[in-house]
Point group: C2
């Protein structure tokens, strides 16, 4: 059977069309979902991400407001803004674009966000709820991966999932979500020994490490599903994932490319969370 190259862009487009409908229905009830995005400093990637989020909101009818601070802002001012947005009944979602410049206490800033408006699902209360099995939101990238799998009818229950990378944003929450969905998850990371051996256990292999070419063909079981969460730029400045795509695709049953795989899903899931927050608030 030929490998299935998963078109994340197409799935994301479909989801956005569904969400656009939901927004229309909400508008009929007099509710317009509204997302506040806080951008601090001059990180060029952050600026692009924020731009893309704004654009995606516009596409489907969510109001987005971007609050921009120069890198010389004091932390108290960011906290005051969040305090104000928490109290603003029209605002359904609040997100702080990460990473923040080093001098800020990211934990403290994120923890300040009202958990009911924490559409990134980074607040400890929301992370705890996810973990305990009564989620309020799902974190966007892991949710995008789960959505890619389910919309391609790729079942994970009873399967071995190996996740490489233990970040709080992707690896760890995905491990919890996949475990809750009955996969048997192995969470590998930079201190894992014999990584190849572990990757070969995987029916579903997910890499989220930021290391170009980490996942080579001899680390992939014949017929595995390979999900590449890497966002890396190679020497020529080209966007590329963690997986040696050209070689691995010959062994995989299905694979996500970079770009155009998991990436487009993340923003779609952010929109979904924002709409959920608006609905919960009715």
């Amino acid at each position: 059977m030929p490998v299935k190259i998963i078109d994340g862009k197409r799935i994301a487009k479909k989801i956005k069309a569904e969400l656009k409908n939901e927004v229309l229905n909400l508008k009929k009830k007099g509710v317009i979902p509204e997302l506040a995005v806080i951008l601090v400093g001059e990180n060029p990637s952050s600026k692009i991400y924020v731009k893309n989020k704004e654009k995606a909101c516009q596409e489907i009818g969510i109001i987005s407001k971007v609050y921009t601070f120069g890198k010389n802002v004091v932390q108290k001012d960011i906290l005051s803004l969040i305090f104000r947005l928490n109290r603003d009944k029209k605002i359904n979602g609040i997100l702080v674009q990460l990473p923040l410049p080093k001098k800020f206490d990211t934990k403290r800033i994120i923890n300040m966000i009202d958990p009911e408006k924490d559409v990134d699902c980074f607040h400890p209360e929301n992370v705890g709820r996810l973990f305990l099995g009564f989620p309020r939101f799902f974190p966007c990238t892991p949710a995008g991966i789960m959505e890619i799998l389910s919309r391609n009818n790729l079942k994970i229950a009873g399967k071995n999932m190996v996740i490489v990378g233990r970040s709080n944003v992707v690896g760890k929450p995905l491990a919890v979500m996949a475990t809750n969905a009955d996969a048997t998850v192995t969470l590998a990371h930079s201190k894992t020994k014999k990584l190849k051996e572990k990757c070969l256990w995987a029916d579903i292999l997910v890499s989220a490490t930021g290391k170009i070419g980490l996942i080579k063909a001899d680390m992939v079981k014949q017929g595995a599903i390979v999900i590449d969460v890497g966002i890396n730029y190679n020497k020529s400045g080209k966007l590329t994932g963690d997986v040696d795509f050209e070689r691995v695709k010959r062994k995989a049953m299905a694979i996500t490319p970079v770009p155009g795989g998991v990436g487009p899903m993340t923003i779609a899931m952010l929109l979904k969370n924002t709409i959920k927050a608006a609905k919960d608030n009715i």
Copy 2:
């Protein structure tokens, strides 16, 4: 090398002696740690657990107060008590003995506890903090397991840990704690296929399933460390673990017995959390 039978009772005793000293030092500062335990209904095991916790507190100088409700109490009264205990500055720790009789909303009751007094580490905020890597408390049984390993100088960094059982109380939080401590963790459960194959991956095998004799000798790698978290009663009413102890001990490098392995550690960790709460409150 002969197998090491890990004496959890002895380790717990040593920890309690250390904690007793800490309590003495706190008393010199005018602080006496105080734990409130809420017991609802007539579950005989719960009654024994509460009794044991009370006794352990007395042993090391922590004040413990047990609040007992008959099974006909209304939920509002439990919530009101927690509200009052949350505000009581003398109370450092609050725990609700689980399981509650079915008619109560356990989630709602646990979520009512002030996270700073949640010495069981069951509140979503504390679970989230543990997950994200800035823990306030460690949940007692997983913390007991980590302590058993470290006090026996059994390193877990870079090792394969396989945990069987994905409960919110043991399996899932232990997976997080061991991952944060650089183990490569596989979390298996009732929907895992080829369990034997997974168990054979383990340098450290932890079973927390409540199934007598689930872990047999042919599921254990020669020289593995085996941690048995099972608390089961066999047909003759004898307390027994998940592991076929007599046969498995011939293959293991180290093994915890039941009783006398992980069990005694759990209460020791509860005392530790209560003292931590008292210190944080100074």
